[in-house]
Amino acid sequence: MSNPGSEERERMSVGNSLTSWERPTVFYNKQIKYLLYSAIGLFILWSAWELRPSPSRLIGGMEAFFSLLTTMFPPDFSPDARGRIWTGMLESIAMSIVATAIGVLISIPIAVMAAENLVPKPVYYVGRSIVSVSRALHELVLAIITVVAVGLGPLAGVIALIIATPGFFAKLLSEELEDIDGGQADGIRAVGGSSIQVLLYGVAPQVIPRLIGLTIYRWDINIRASTIVGIVGAGGIGVTLLNSFDRYEYDFSLAIILVIIAVVMFGEIMSAVARRRVQ
């Protein structure tokens, strides 16, 4: 052994009285530990160098920001603006509801497939891959693709949100499924129940509270996402926001942003309350 401590320890173990102790490290030894830490430090420095933020840009940006702020105030809440915000917001919320309902329905079988204890290995890998792909792509990236596929409008946004849902929902539900008490499933297996019956009786009752909680949570996320996918033309309040910027109606933009913040916060509060109730 190269560890210099071992020899000493051996000598000291004679007579059964150890006097020194070091906390076991997760790394092989100290050298590797410090090597890894310095690698992380260098990586951060390299990232900053790649970006090279220039102070002049930062200062210029501040000026533009303040001039934007001054044109934004006061926010435009005229009756016409309210009407347009209302229509856009309603579309966003409708998108989030449809996307959550369909997204959760397709996520449930994917979650079962991605639970190592419930399915054979090949199926597990397929399930995990679907989750990973869905997770890798941001709602906005998906929306860019779906807008190209089905054209501008809320349909593109809904499809993007549906595709993004399993990445969150199926992943967390599959983790919950992997933690179930297998004995309850064995009980159903022992009476001669089919695989579906084992899922319905032995597994589902154990995860249903969590499933409801995750659905509400995902809905909350989808409300937030549905307000932003409009930026790339996929429907909802985001389209209204983008148009207002294009027409330099910054006071209207601010009104929209304020409403988005209010709706998202309201959704988050409702979601938190509802999830606490269920669990």
Binding site: D186, I188, A190, V191, Y201
Partner: protein, 273 residues
């Protein structure tokens, strides 16, 4: 009735839990399996309904070899074997009624199971069995509200509602206090006699085996070392099962010797430095 021949089980870790077990359960007898922890008692029970897949050998119930069935045939075979578990294995979040009726799932379509569409006569017998096992009136309680003894009664009710040809029982009392253990064993063996169902029961409290079973099988290190009536289970037989043939005094003496000799070795080491 049930005939186990040369049953072997080697786990994927390489541990041999059963090394060629042969035994029979005939008529309506209650047979208990006793033995020290790790002897393979639970593995043996679970190999009968193949919740644990056996490595080789055969398990024949009513002329059909359980070890060589297709998935569908195995499910049908399991309907004939009621199982009662050590940790009850009831569905905690479902009602007592749903748990008892789940004993009929093997006879129901998935769709009927999903809609909880149970046969009226099954519901009727479920009520009767709940009364019989002493938890009548609790059908709408969730299982997680019940005590251990009540849970095991529900477990018995579920197994009996299967109308099985044999009851497989895995350590039914080890999660229960001594008082409840006797009550549950009493109930279990009584019902088995009333319904004329043979029982294969795996138990570690020898007194319970002596009191409630017709025949005792002793399992040690995956092998059967005793097979006889409770009267035949004398001190020598117990030594064979629990202490590999040594009497308690001999075993104590042996471990004393081991301790002493290792102490001497330590002293030797210290002196040599």
């Amino acid at each position: 009735m049930l005939k186990i021949t040369d049953l072997k089980k080697v786990y994927s870790t390489g541990d041999e839990a059963l090394s060629g077990v042969s035994m029979e359960v005939e008529g309506n007898e209650v047979v208990s399996i006793i033995g020290p922890s790790g002897a393979g008692k639970s593995t043996l029970i679970e190999c009968v309904n193949q919740l644990t897949e056996s490595t080789s050998g055969s398990v024949v119930l009513d002329g059909r070899d359980i070890t060589s069935l297709s998935k569908k045939e195995l499910r049908n075979a399991r309907r004939d074997m009621g199982m009662i578990f050590q940790e009850f294995n009831l569905i905690e979040r479902l009602t007592v009624m749903e748990n008892v009726l789940s004993g009929r799932l093997g006879y129901m379509s998935n769709w009927d199971a999903f809609r909880r569409n149970f046969e009226p006569e099954d519901i009727q017998s479920a009520y009767e069995i709940l009364d019989r096992v002493g938890v009548g009136g609790m059908e709408n309680k969730r299982v997680d509200e019940l005590s251990g003894g009540q849970r095991q009664r529900v477990g018995i009710a579920r197994a009996v509602l299967q109308r099985p040809k044999i009851l497989l029982v895995d350590e039914p009392t080890s999660a229960l206090d001594p008082e409840t253990s006797f009550a549950v064993m009493e109930l279990l063996t009584e019902i088995a006699r009333e319904e004329e169902i043979p029982v294969l029961i795996n138990i570690h409290e020898v007194e319970l085996a002596l009191e409630y079973t017709d025949r005792i099988v002793g399992l040690t290190d995956g092998e059967i070392v005793f097979n006889g009536t409770p009267e035949e289970l004398d001190e020598t037989a117990r030594d064979t099962i629990y202490r590999s043939g040594q009497s308690r005094a001999e075993k104590d003496a042996a471990s004393d010797y081991k301790e002493t000799s290792s102490k001497i070795e330590n002293i030797d080491k210290e002196i040599s430095f």
